[in-house]
Symmetry: C2
Subunit: 185 residues, 2 copies
């Protein structure tokens, strides 16, 4: 059983910015530190908690509230709850921050639209541009960038290792993760 | 931080049988033992995870799958996850048991329909009999009693203390909760 405190690590950013990639990169690192960790990924949550919801503002907000509800429950019980949904609206992210009984760390996974659209990992931007997908964040739906995120990473010109290190540095500085040997490049 | 193992304590039974009452009675006892505990109550979950879902078999199953998804996540991280939804269908309860990575303890909170209907704590049975509420478990919708529940309590003729003790005895016997001084009546 871990002796660290739980917290919520709330990733926000455009589709393809690298939220899930960063989460998946960090998870084994947290585990190695002896931390408990769960990831509430956008796609997985839509399948397990929000099937039937669409992408209107109201449905997106409902989806985010469900993620926040579960993340709060996990983190107040000592788990690192990582959320990796686009979560485009600032007001609802702030609501989740306010509800969270444990530490809430917002991580803005920033990448310019040109960059994520060029990546187009899942082929979604092409479909959004063609109008096949409606209400697509960044194309036909707003994305409200955080103004006071605890950590901002720029995946357009930072490597995954650099982005992860920036998150870890913040968490370490705040005493949220155990001290560890950091091997500097 | 607690050193006990998490498990799911899945209550099932008719509306008014005493699932939430029993859960609320047990929670401070678990807390005093140094255990982490969360309760996924039927009404609260409908508000936070399942708003918009109705009471068709499909919607009920979706609701129960969401509860099971969260309970599994909590219990595999060392939390006692108590669920207190009617969960009338045996197949979906068994599915949740199969999905659960931690111990899964099904508690059948049994009380005869006559008893819960006479109690009618929330006035729901009266509305169900009058046809104001449709698809009401026990009246106009089925309840499939568990055949192999780990614990069965009969709240029609057992006190809340007796029912709680029966649950605690089982958990203690299985080593799921720490040893404690049990004061026999």
């Amino acid at each position: 059983m871990s002796d660290h405190k739980g917290f919520t690590l709330w990733f926000t950013g455009l589709s393809g910015a690298g939220k899930s990639t960063l989460a998946q990169y960090l998870i084994p690192m947290f585990t190695e530190m002896g931390c408990l960790v769960e990831c509430l990924d956008g796609d997985e949550v839509r399948e397990n908690l929000s099937k039937g919801l669409g992408f209107s503002k109201e449905d997106r907000d409902t989806n985010i509230r469900r993620i926040g509800y579960v993340a709060n429950m996990l983190s107040r019980n000592g788990v690192i709850a990582i959320t990796a949904a686009i979560s485009p609206y600032a007001a609802i992210r702030d609501e989740m921050r306010g509800n969270c009984k444990a530490h809430f760390v917002e991580v803005y996974v920033e990448a310019p639209l040109e960059v994520v659209e060029a990546r187009d990992t899942k082929g979604l931007y092409k479909k959004a541009r063609a109008g096949i997908i409606k209400q697509f964040t960044g194309i036909s739906d707003p994305y409200e960038a955080p103004e006071k995120a605890e950590v901002t990473v720029h995946t357009g010109d930072q490597s995954i290792e650099e982005s992860a290190q920036k998150v870890l540095d913040y968490l370490h500085e705040k005493g949220l993760i155990p001290a560890r040997q950091v091997q500097k490049a």
